[in-house]
């Protein structure tokens, strides 16, 4: 079993070396002439106003929550999709009920306006 994961481990090590190597190499090769103006965050050339660590719209949080719900549902679909010949008609009916319940919830969040962007 470990045999299948050894190549992945090797690839992880090599690609981390590639990524960090490129970063380290460029920090050695490139010039370093920092100045106060150069280190300002870009804001179309004006002095930056306020902080960039601002609060942002709750909509994005809502999307993340919905993603988790629907992704867990996809997690249930995968084992069924691989075994569905064995589970047969019973499995299909079960999955139909499962997806139907999910669609009810989906219609609910749609009607609630969770998917609207103003």
């Amino acid at each position: 079993m470990l045999g299948a994961y050894l190549p992945i481990l090797l690839l992880v090590v090599i690609s981390i070396c590639f990524g960090l190597g490129a970063l380290v190499l460029s920090s050695f090769v490139g010039p370093k002439k920092p100045s106060k103006v150069k280190l300002q965050p870009y804001e179309c050339g004006c002095e930056p106003v306020g902080s960039a660590r601002e609060r942002f719209s709750i909509k994005f949080y809502l999307i993340a929550m919905l993603f988790i719900l629907f992704d867990i549902e996809a997690v249930f679909l995968y084992p069924w999709s691989i075994l569905f010949k064995k589970l047969g008609m019973f499995g299909l009916a079960e999955m139909g009920v499962f997806i139907a319940i999910l669609l009810v919830g989906y219609i609910y969040i749609w009607k609630k306006g969770a998917l609207e962007w103003e």
């Binding site: 992945i8 090599i14 970063l23 150069k38 300002q40 965050p41 870009y42 960039a52 601002e54």
Partner: protein
């Protein structure tokens, strides 16, 4: 020489070859994109460095390596430093499970043309595509710039929304092949590719991967018309280069996955298997470039509406219909 040593040497040679081919393809995809876009827009594009501009990628790498690495004041030092690598590494790792040819016989042993033929290959890909979100999120947040923050938040919501429909559109392919192993999925398409049975799933997957690699019309995380460069606004030199090359590796890898899931992977008449695989990947890459030259950018609400109100329910219904059809068959 013992068997184990030979195995390790073959494995390392295979990884080195794959690494070299992916990086070269990514570098030349950048050039191809610039040339094809120029051609679409009736200009010449980069054609000065070497014959037909063929040495341009090399010149770009040298330039990016010798540029100054600017880290804006107030940026989070370590996160800012590591984010580009976090964006590029998962893209390379995904290629580990993609089979790019039939097993070959070398030194009297069978050598599969895939780095590791995991029995959970599809889940491995889904996991890595989730991890790839971190590069965008952390890079944008750590920069301490408002454009970067906006770009990364947008990118985050876009990537997770389209990941959903991408995952759901792959369920029918698993149902048809009854395996998560990518070589099984490819071998199940030896005669008829799944695109014939599952055109809708293919279209959903194609749109979702265009959004996953942040290509026009889904390039809102970096929308240069409004957000300067989005989440990588503050990056310069090789750090920007890593973000950039990561995106192009992503195009190649997702193209390879689309070919493996729906177009029969390396199967094809007359030509050798790896050639077929590369031809299919390049077809996807050229399609993405063509799309960039043709389509305007979506608005953000249109993007989210399309992902949540069209693609996700369609993919769900497609799964049910496929299940029903496979039962009756």
């Amino acid at each position: 020489m013992s068997n184990a040593t030979l195995d390790i040497i073959l494995l390392l040679a295979k990884i080195a070859l794959v690494f070299f081919v992916i990086l070269t393809m990514a570098a030349y995809l950048v050039l191809a994109e610039r040339r094809i876009l120029a051609w679409i827009q009736d200009r010449k594009g980069p054609n000065r460095v070497g014959p037909q501009g063929l040495l341009q990628p090399l010149a770009d790498v040298i330039k990016m390596l010798t540029k100054e690495d600017v880290r804006p004041a107030g940026a989070d030092k370590w996160l800012f430093y590591l984010a580009p690598a976090m964006a590029a590494i998962p893209a390379i790792l995904t290629f580990a499970v993609i089979p790019f040819g039939a097993p070959v016989i070398l030194f009297g042993r069978e050598l599969p043309l895939v780095i590791s033929d995991l029995n959970v290959g599809l889940l491995f890909f889904m996991a890595l595509s989730s991890i790839a979100v971190y590069g965008v999120a952390i890079g944008g947040w750590a920069s301490n710039s408002k454009y970067a923050l906006l770009g990364s938040i947008r990118g985050l919501a876009q990537l997770i929304s389209y990941e959903l429909s991408m995952g759901l559109s792959l369920v029918p392919a698993v149902m048809l092949s009854r395996s998560f192993r990518l070589s099984d999925i490819v071998n199940a398409q030896a005669h008829v590719p799944f695109i014939v049975y599952q055109p809708l799933a293919f279209i959903i997957f194609l749109i979702s991967i265009a959004a996953e690699c942040k290509r026009i019309p889904f390039d809102l995380p970096e929308a240069e018309g409004e957000l300067v460069a989005g989440f990588h606004t503050e990056y310069s030199g090789m750090r920007f280069g890593l973000f950039f090359v990561g995106e192009y590796i992503n195009v190649i890898v997702l193209g390879g996955l689309a070919a493996s899931f729906f177009l029969g992977g390396w199967h094809g008449p007359w030509l050798p298997a790896p050639v077929w695989f590369i031809v299919k990947v390049l077809a996807f890459a050229v399609f993405f470039i063509w799309m960039r030259g043709t389509l305007p950018r979506l608005r953000y609400d249109q993007l989210m509406h399309f992902g949540w109100k069209v693609l996700t329910p369609l993919a769900l219904i497609n799964i049910l219909v496929t299940g029903w059809w496979l039962m009756l068959r």
